[in-house]
């Protein structure tokens, strides 16, 4: 095996094993920094030794042993109480013991996810901690992804770990009475991670695929670890169905291409298929939740052969269900758009005007933009032009302003 091949194997092992290694070391030592350093050290050893000695038969076990020995060294040199030392010494997976069936070993990554996403931590710290400890991104990489200075991100991580220690945030999968609420928190963090990569709220590039890829990887781990939780499968399905449109969402100039004008041949049909399969499995549990419903909406779009083939009455019904599960004016606005497509622009405009009178979306460019679009379709060009101006004044990004200006000019 060439040096380049070994490097690739180590990189693969890193993606596969990092989170598990860190999670186990945290449980055994209770020390987050020590866990990260020892995991890092194990991969450094692999990079140095695998090209010379060959890749071990079970890379995960090799890495666990290397990390454990490093932790033992460090703890012996420090002044550590005997109990902690003993628990690390008893850590399973020697160089090549009896093969251990993976599913017999309780997976510490689930504890780690729940602790990283504890509601007592600020959301931005939850996201950063998840990327650092579970995905193994460096502080510099996380800082770059969220466009903050590295020192700011380092401090955010230090503070979060200190709070976990000082405030006594437990390292465990929450008990049944807290599980539903805390699971929603974990799913929420993974979805924030995904949407941050998908819509790239700041910065020069319109999307950051490395973040969406990490989010999908972590959602896949979570769905695997919580097979009885249909919302976890639903979230993974939602991410895959949205991500499948990745290559069609922007034109060469970086401008937004809306769903109806996207080249559907550019959609990733493997991702669509996997998303649909996961969604079917989740829905079969008959415990609907917001991620499953959103995935079902994404599935309606993903399975339409062309824009005219879209099942808008179904989508309008799903938005109504979503609004019941998680009431929000933005969801109501989306429902209005679907109703306009299903029953005509007048029916949609009625809902939009109700929302406008309610005032919850005052100052939101999408309300004005939707209203403008419906007025245009009703042939009320003067009203439409005025609504486009209103939306233009409120739109947050250049790409959106260019899109709205184009629409306004076409209306005149």
């Amino acid at each position: 095996m060439s040096g380049a091949d070994v490097t690739r194997v180590v990189e693969e092992a890193f993606r596969e094993e990092w989170g598990r290694l860190v999670a186990t070391l945290i449980r055994l030592t209770g020390d987050w920094d020590l866990a990260e350093e020892c995991a890092q050290d194990a991969f450094a050893q692999a990079l140095a030794r695998w090209p010379r000695d060959g890749v071990p038969r079970r890379p995960g076990a090799w890495l666990t042993t290397a990390a454990r020995n490093r932790a033992l060294d460090r703890l012996r040199r420090g002044t550590t109480e005997v109990a902690r030392l003993r628990s690390v010494a008893a850590m399973p997976a020697g160089p090549d013991p009896e093969p251990v069936e993976e599913d017999h070993v309780p997976d510490d990554r689930l504890r780690l996810m729940f602790t990283c996403c504890h509601p007592a931590l600020p959301l931005e710290a939850q996201v950063a901690l998840t990327l650092r400890t579970l995905a193994g991104l460096t502080t510099a990489e996380i800082a770059a992804a969220f466009m903050v200075p590295e020192t700011t991100m380092a401090q955010r991580l230090v503070r979060a770990k200190r709070k976990i220690r000082n405030a006594g945030i437990p390292y465990r999968v929450p008990p049944a009475r807290l599980l539903a609420e805390r699971t929603a928190g974990v799913l929420g963090v993974l979805y924030v991670l995904f949407t941050e990569g998908y819509s790239a709220s700041g910065g020069p590039s319109p999307a950051r695929p490395e973040l969406t890829a990490e989010a999908i990887r972590l959602a896949r781990v979570l769905a695997g670890l919580m097979p009885g939780e249909p919302e976890a499968q639903g979230l993974l399905a939602l991410m895959l169905l949205q991500d499948s449109r990745r290559a069609a969402r922007f034109d060469a100039a970086g401008d937004i291409v809306t769903l109806e004008f996207q080249d559907r041949a550019k959609w990733d049909h493997d991702e669509i298929e996997e998303g649909l399969r996961l969604l079917d499995d989740a829905l079969a549990c008959r415990r609907p939740g917001p991620y499953q419903v959103q995935a079902a909406i994404a599935a309606c779009h993903a399975t339409a052969l062309d824009p005219d083939d879209t099942d808008w009455p179904q989508i309008a019904g799903l938005y109504a269900q979503l609004a019941r599960l998680t009431p929000s004016p933005v969801i109501e606005l989306n429902r209005a758009v679907a109703v306009a497509m299903a029953d005509g622009p007048l029916a949609g405009l009625r809902l939009v005007d109700e929302l406008r009178a309610g005032g919850a979306l005052a100052g939101h460019h999408l309300l004005a933009a939707t209203r403008a679009d419906l007025l245009r379709r009703l042939g009320r060009t003067a009203d439409a032009a005025q609504a486009y101006e209103e939306a233009l004044a409120l739109a947050p990004t250049d790409a959106e302003r260019r899109y709205l200006a184009r629409r306004r000019d076409e209306t005149g």
Binding site: H118, A120, K163, N166, A167, G168, P170
Partner: protein, 104 residues
Amino acid sequence: MKYLLLICAEESVEVSPEQADPEPWIEETERRGVRLDGHRLCPVSDATTVRAGLVTQGPFAETKEQIAGFDIIECTDLDEAIEIALKHPVASFGSIEVRPFWPE
């Protein structure tokens, strides 16, 4: 009469360790028999607040809210402390900041 002393300072203001050392004061007040209990607290970034049945990070007391009382609880972890705080009647209309003691 019993009094509660609330020790307040700006976390960003740096003072010398000697200037901030409470030991002489503690020794004196204990010698006089006036100090019953007291403890240093972790910084506000380690605080968790419950308000209207919800858990939020940080201190976030509204500016109009005044300290109305205090309780010291001993729990296995933050989840238990939050559960206890949520059961306090004030958690439904005011807020309760859960702030850990400085580690011994």
